[in-house]
Subunit: 693 residues, 2 copies
């Protein structure tokens, strides 16, 4: 019942709130939380689940976890470097490796031997080696009474210094991460893998069975999985710590753990900030997403090749639209918002009664002003979006920033991150001029709408042409599709960039002052907000102790939960689906002309139907606390063995940006048994299966 | 090349402007203009085309022309009441006559005898009988120095009085129409037909062949036609004046005439007003259209029946999005805008030099302020959209308005229009609760976004529920789907409405004060703008004479043009396509899985292929000046014989809201020969063909 999703979610979210306990130290939190690996919720795990993780257990899970640096999670599943993630996490790479002749989405892929594997053009995987607390060192950089601008510069400089020093000392990728909105700073040290090759991907028809209609729904029947391999020195890398597949099956009621990189939550935001997000920021983001969705749909109507080229962007846009719509629905639900208001009121009341803590209340005023300013800033700037323009802009800014010491640059241009930066800038991934022209033309139009078409910068950008004509001229006239051209501009530095007559380089130079002006406003605002969040967090810690987990930061976290179904509109939703259910689901979406679009199983599955054990569990749900970025996270049992692969949350879970609930919100996983069954009987991947211990 | 449409349009529109003559009396206007039937462009027609229309010629064409009151044009084509229009003009009725079991879009329809014809639930057709100038009488109602509010009331009251008096005297529908932005007022007297029955419609697959991708494109291969019949006293009506089908074929270079009801142009707007439209109003309208488009697409994913229910709304939304995007692209094209600026500057310069005319310049200041206010007003109000809510709102307002004398009511509740009003209110057309819930839920969310979710009216409207839950409750709890319930509320008057506990009636009452407040602001703004337009028009007439046609007002106009191709991206586009071309077009959009969606010809056409004369002209283009509302207009030759049926404009014509050009802009028509060929050989409609003289 796809079209009823909003109803369903709202009906249930409201009922969740009836009796929702306001979080606080004395309350057992259910299976809530995205916990730091260096601050695990040992108390709750023991109290609720009688489970006491050993350090060895936690270290092994951490080391077997993998971050896809372009936005997803994964795990090592063999000593030979095999990496399991979602098909939709691998999709960016699948798209870059596809051509008009080799459509990996339509046909899937299986490398029969390592020599057949396809090398990703720009993928970087990270393995978290260690974490250190550098709060004191970072905070010492900011002196009392500094202006936000100076504080920002000082902290940036200190962070760049720490990252460079640690990288030089360890050879690892080193990122300083702000937690609790800047109350704590931790240093994350990662092993980087940049030679990553595709081993296996099923057809998109089974990986994303049910399409946009089923996305964020349950029950599901998707094999949203694919397998890569990390290589080093042109050999499959040797991986010491990986997840063995659980030989004993998963069952309803089992305790499971999710180790992955949730991208972003906003559970600690003030109510005023949430109000700005609800009434201004999310609606505007949704307008932009729908604009892009319609644009990409129109682009795709030009034929199958256009559809192939636009597919990944369209999927990402639809996924983002659906997720944000769910988040907005949660905030517009009076019950959920009211719970946030009550929670904050209690905290503020407690702070007001303590003379020492009372000064912290000023942070809420600051947060309100910051949120308002953030809404206003959202509609400004130079929103030019195309891959080629982004390359041009990075080249222009790199040339300027490299003339400064590392600590004074914009953070993405600092020395410590240079390898990852260049991996992306020198990507050989194909760039399609027709898609580029459509996206750039639309964003030029958007710039005119934002600034008014008579704005002097707009006039100079358009150079007397219409947005569409100007975009066509810029894209067709630019040589930046060539990696050699990019490399020459990087190596030639500022002089080369200034001498370039590439029209996109010239455009990037033209808009750079305005782009930097708006960037600076945003950075200063973020800094003021960090200062406010730091104070608010001090208040929370003082009143409620330190057993809060920080908001998600796309770094490794541990979540836990129970495999269990839920009630929805009066019906029980069972936790597991089966392979048989996929065939039934296809049948129930048949029209007179054949299966409805996105509901046709691939021919390979129909061919294998007789061989398959149809009772094999396909997908399952659990109560673990996840969000976007967790896609591809391994799900493990008490023994740390792989039982599943996170790939979605149900509709009810879309409130997770702001609030956790275990009444109906569920994380959705592929059961590892379905992966094994399909590898063996659909794909005949015996070489691959032999590698799994 | 669907995705390139914006490029193509811009490239060509810009080139059009190079050398575009600024309109003025001394310039022969090319084939520009949407002319009043009581003020035909006799001079231009004679000068350019050597054609002098007789009064009899013009009267016959006018009387054979038909207005679809729900937004389209048509013509009588037989003495037995047959009415030819576009399939997409009839689509609203086709949708209302379709059910899950009888899908008129998929299967088409042919009545073998009058008894088999399907009666439209709420269609009103109008035949223009006569026009009278009532400018003096209307303007006399407004005294010098009246406030806009009083002027509006006085003029409304005078117009209601004239309409009632004329209706009583003639028995005809009588509408006073403001022309030239209120510089002239004409009375249009119409014969009304309200028993309208469907005779023939082809399958949507050929009527809208190429779908959204081909919409506003050329070459085209569409049979966008259908035939209704008007009945009176349960008999086919007798029609004295109708269009005979031209027996001699149409050829390249021929002069043709279009008689139809263009909906709205804004060619006489001030540059400041255009700027507001470009930078604020059109972008916001586009955001809302894209929002609705995505919503309806999501709704349609639920399955074939959902798709059927949402189809008409989705088509209308996509069509509106594409048209407005073209209009915005025109305004964002520096060349086109510059031409508008130059034209206005010359007019203003001329007025400045004349002491007597100089005071008129104040009107431009007023227009600027009005346009700004209009942009601001656009984002306010209570944008609740659902058929059921609209019924509730009309019931609530009718009860209140009917307590006032006719002349003091909001115009749509005045006595003269009561029959048309009730025809719509009592429509038996199906209302789908699932679609209603989706639309109302989204518009409740939209109201929260506009006003902020903490707005007191929002809080009362939601009654503690989320937008989606509240919408479900309102729709499922309302009895307004029953026409009897509506009738009882109309007949019970204010007491019945106030006593009603129908949740949508209660909602309409709750929001009525706010809806009226915003309506009033809008009406007053329109009044101030009318006053400004009146003065600006005085200036135009003084400087340039009276040979200007008024902006379109969805009333009958005559356009004329030449059947001729154009050059596009270096290629010649021929004026005619053929039936053979449709088969070629299908073939060129074939994917490995079969024809691309919207590019599959119906089985009936494949079956008839051998019988068809494939060389028969299918569609053609001409230079006539048309816009939305002209859909379904007859195209006639010098002899007043039917040669075609307007159904679209090409991409280049989307600038027509603001400027006419004949370099590439073309009106697109179905050739009447294709209609005859298909009726005979595809549909075997010999009874119908026998009725055509």
């Amino acid at each position: 019942m796809r079209r009823l999703w909003a109803l369903a979610s709202m009906k249930t979210l409201v009922s969740v709130l009836v009796g929702l306990a306001v979080p606080g130290v004395s309350v057992v939190r259910a299976d809530e939380g995205m916990w730091l690996f260096n601050d695990l919720p040992r108390g709750v795990l023991k109290e609720r689940h009688g489970f006491e993780p050993s350090d060895a257990w936690a270290d092994a899970l951490r080391l077997a976890s993998v971050r896809f640096n372009n936005g997803g999670s994964a795990s090592f599943i063999s000593p030979t470097g095999l990496v399991l993630t979602n098909h939709h996490v691998g999709a960016d790479t699948l798209g870059k490796l596809s051509t008009a002749e080799r459509d990996l989405f339509q046909d899937g892929f299986l490398a029969r031997s390592p020599a057949d594997e396809l090398r990703a053009p720009d993928l970087e995987l990270n393995q978290l080696i260690s974490i250190a607390d550098v709060t004191a060192e970072v905070k010492a950089a900011v002196a009392e009474g500094m202006s936000p601008e100076d504080a920002l510069d000082a902290r940036r400089s200190r962070i760049a210094e720490i990252e460079s020093r640690e990288k030089d000392a360890t050879g690892l990728r080193c990122d300083v991460v702000a937690l609790y909105g800047g109350n704590l700073y931790h240093l994350y040290r990662y092993r980087r893998f940049t030679d990553v090759r595709l081993v296996w991907a099923p057809e998109e028809a089974i990986a994303f069975f049910g399409g946009d209609a089923d996305n964020f729904e349950y029950p599901r029947y998707d094999l949203d999985a694919c397998i890569f391999r990390v290589w080093e020195n042109d050999q499959p890398a040797t991986i010491e710590t990986y997840l063995p597949v659980a030989r004993e099956g998963l069952a309803e009621g089992d305790l499971v753990f999710v180790s992955g990189n949730p991208g972003r939550t906003q559970r600690l935001l003030s109510v005023d900030a949430l109000r700005e997000i609800r009434d201004h920021q999310l609606p505007r983001q949704l307008d932009l997403l729908r604009r892009r969705e319609v644009l990409l749909q129109q682009f795709s109507l030009d034929g199958p090749e256009a559809a192939r080229r636009g597919r990944n962007s369209l999927f990402g846009t639809q996924n983002g639209r659906k997720a944000r719509l769910g988040a907005l629905a949660a905030l517009q639900s009076p019950g959920i918002f009211e719970a946030k208001v009550v929670d904050e009121s209690r905290l503020i009341a407690a702070l007001s009664q303590d003379a020492e803590l009372r000064p912290l209340l000023a942070a809420w005023d600051a947060a309100r002003a910051n949120a308002r300013a953030q809404s206003e800033l959202q509609g400004s700037g130079v929103p030019l979006s195309s891959q080629l323009f982004s390359i041009a802009q990075r080249l222009v800014q790199l040339a300027a920033e490299d003339e400064l010491p590392s600590g004074e640059r914009l953070p993405e241009y600092a020395d410590a991150g240079r390898e990852s930066f260049l991996l992306s800038l020198y990507s050989q991934a194909p760039i399609y001029p027709d898609l580029e022209t459509a996206l750039l033309g639309d964003s030029l139009g958007q710039m005119l709408e934002r600034r008014g078409a008579d704005d002097p910068l707009c006039t100079r950008v358009l150079a007397g042409k219409s947005p569409a004509d100007r975009a066509a001229e810029l894209v067709s006239g630019s040589a930046l599709a060539s990696v050699d051209v990019r490399r020459a501009l990087v190596e030639g530095g500022r002089a080369a960039v200034e001498a370039s007559d590439d029209p996109l380089i010239r455009l990037a130079r033209l808009v750079d002052p305005e782009a930097r002006r708006v960037r600076k406003l945003g950075d200063e605002l973020a800094e003021r907000d960090r200062q406010a969040a730091d104070l608010m967090m001090k208040g929370r810690f003082a009143v409620r102790g330190t057993s809060e987990y920080p908001d998600a930061t796309f770094t490794l976290r541990l979540a836990f939960g129970t495999v269990t179904g839920y009630r929805e509109q009066g019906r029980e939703v069972a936790p597991f689906t089966t392979i048989d259910g996929a065939f039934v689901h296809e049948e129930s979406h048949r029209t007179p002309e054949g299966p409805q679009q996105d509901f046709a199983l691939p021919a390979s599955w129909h061919d294998a139907r007789e061989r398959l054990d149809l009772a094999t569990p396909m997908n399952f749900v659990c109560t673990a606390d996840i969000i976007g970025g967790n896609s591809g996270s391994p799900v493990v049992n008490r023994n740390g063995e792989l039982v599943g692969l996170i790939f979605d949350g149900n509709i009810q879970s879309l409130s997770a940006s702001y609030v956790y609930s275990d009444e109906q919100s569920r994380a959705v996983s592929v059961d590892v048994r379905a992966i094994l069954e399909a590898l063996e009987k659909v794909y005949g991947a015996k070489e691959l299966l032999a590698e799994l211990p």
